[in-house]
């Protein structure tokens, strides 16, 4: 056993039955502490199925083959209770649309302290202090005010910060971020990406970043796993995959991500 936080080996996922066509086939990768690993692909590539499998959130109809080890433990062998403990406690999750993950009728304070009170047997006041610190850590200017707010009173970028802060209060060792910036404006996206890098640098957490945006991957990932049609088509350090891609599909993805300068010359509509 190496020191990998998460070790995915020969993962296959079929929906509807063991004989159904594989949505994911033969996928293997590791996430090490302090490493940002990006799983990149277009719709239908299977990247979201892989992230759900890592979180054990696949529907019962999904048939899973291969193995997923988290800190050396086989997730398939974990009971529901144990898995619930790992999720949240050891694995923090950040999703695309924070509004659907935050409970609209509970204050931020309530949502951020609940896990601490339940999982860590903290007192309400200690949990509150920890939550305030977490909000400050993710760059929220007035943590007290945000604590007393409800989700709808916050902007999209602020909600995403709150969700990241909530994930961090339990000090997980792995963060899974599934399209964390896709619903955000570019300027806010830039802030959230900086924040993910900063958290990794500070905590040494591993980050599994699932995204369709090769531009985002190029800016933050240490290692890149490119998926297409349920398979890994290319996998390696970012310098290699982004700067010297070997597979035609990776080249096409990078090629389709036009820089603004390229777009200017490519357009040809504006002399």
């Amino acid at each position: 056993m190496t020191g990998a936080l998460i070790s995915v080996r020969d993962l296959s996922i079929r929906y509807g039955g063991p004989d159904a066509p594989a949505a994911v086939d033969g996928v293997s990768f590791d996430v090490n502490p302090g490493e940002i690993v990006a799983l990149v692909g277009e719709s239908g590539s299977g990247k979201s199925s892989v992230s759900l499998a890592v979180m054990s959130l696949l529907p019962d109809s999904a048939h899973v083959g291969g193995s997923i080890l988290f800190e050396g433990r086989d997730l398939a062998a974990c009971g529901r209770r144990e898995m619930e403990n790992i999720r949240g406690n050891r694995i923090g999750m950040i999703f695309q649309e924070p509004m659907t993950c935050l409970n609209p009728v509970l204050s931020i304070a309530r949502q951020m302290t609940e896990g601490l009170v339940r999982h860590r047997a903290m007192s309400r006041s200690a949990a509150r202090r920890r939550a305030l610190q977490a909000l400050a850590d993710v760059g929220i200017p007035e943590p007290e005010r945000v604590m007393n707010s409800f989700p709808h009173e916050l902007s999209g970028g602020m909600r995403q910060r709150v969700m990241i802060a909530a994930a961090l209060t339990l000090e997980p060792s792995l963060l899974i971020a599934d399209e964390p910036t896709t619903a955000l404006d570019v300027t806010v996206q830039a802030q959230v990406l900086d924040l993910l890098v900063e958290i990794r640098n500070r905590t040494g957490d591993g980050v599994l970043l699932i995204t369709h945006d090769i531009g985002v991957v190029a800016e933050v990932a240490d290692r890149v796993v490119v998926m297409q049609g349920g398979h890994v088509v290319e996998h390696g350090p970012w310098e290699q995959v982004i700067r010297a891609p070997r597979e035609a599909y990776t080249k096409a993805l990078i090629g389709a991500h036009m820089s603004l300068e390229e777009a200017l010359t490519d357009g040809g509509l504006h002399g």
């Binding site: 990406l193 603004l260 390229e262 200017l264 504006h270």
Partner: protein, 261 residues
């Protein structure tokens, strides 16, 4: 008019839109003035809440303005009768971000294009279906597309359908609101190429937060921030030499390959 320059296809002057929220007036648009020339493509960029979608919706008549003026070919639409106003608005079509939401799931594609043409006065079903077949072929869809339903198509194909429907009435102005934002990058390219190919004499208001798509597709760009127009110019000016600090920060935030955070 004294000079020879033709009036712009569409022009808005000092456009304001306010909503009343919790007893306070919120300005979604605050004194916006801009013009789109014939066969010109104007990109409207800005972040959520900048007012860019509200602007597009007002131009096609889906929303009303609080104050200001909209001119079609130099004629203020507030000054014309209802029939002429409707006829002028019929020359403005819209393409939305999510083509599935903008198509009727229970109607075949051919029928939906027929409905659009019928609303614009062409009532013969057989004739309209023939027109639909030609349009669908022009946007690169298979021949039997007219007889199929929206769910039978991929996201990119649905956007092709939405484009076919938008061009079916021969509009002079098309407002495309985040028309390629929900598509995978490879498909996005194809749809942008298709729109460029079909441009002809149509003027476009291309609303998007995707700077690269705007840079590729548009002749000029207008930058909006908090309901105001902060800067406008040719695409080259805005992308290569933005003047306003907000435009600069917007461009700086665009992810690029070759830079590390």
């Amino acid at each position: 008019m004294a000079d020879q320059t033709p009036a712009p296809a569409i022009e808005v002057r000092d456009l304001t839109k306010s909503f009343r929220v919790n007893g306070r007036d919120v300005h979604a648009l605050n004194g916006v003035s801009l013009a789109v020339g014939h066969a010109e493509t104007l990109g409207i960029v800005g972040e959520s809440g900048s007012g860019k979608s509200t602007l597009g919706r007002i131009v096609v008549g889906l929303e009303t303005m609080s104050s200001g003026e909209i001119l079609h070919e130099g004629t203020a639409i507030s000054g014309v009768g209802r029939a002429e106003r409707n006829a002028r608005l019929a020359k403005c079509q819209m393409i939305f971000q999510d083509p599935y939401a903008s198509l009727n799931p229970r109607m075949t594609i051919g029928r939906q294009i027929h409905e659009t043409l019928r609303a614009h006065g062409s009532r013969q079903l057989a004739h309209n279906l023939a027109t639909a077949a030609v349009l669908l072929e022009r946007v690169g869809l298979p021949q039997d597309a007219a007889g199929r339903y929206p769910h039978e198509f991929s996201g990119g194909q649905r956007q092709r359908i939405a484009i076919a429907r938008a061009i079916s009435t021969g509009p002079s102005v098309i407002v495309a609101d985040e028309a390629v934002s929900a598509l995978d990058v490879s498909i996005r390219e194809q749809i942008l190429d298709l729109m460029a190919e079909l441009k002809g004499t149509t003027s476009y208001l291309f609303i998007s937060h995707d700077m690269a798509a705007v840079a590729k597709f548009c002749d000029r760009i207008a930058v909006m921030h908090k309901g105001r127009l902060v800067e406008q110019g040719t695409t080259r000016q805005i992308i290569s030499a933005p003047q306003d600090p907000y435009t600069q920060s917007l461009l700086e935030a665009v992810p690029r390959i070759g830079r590390r955070r």
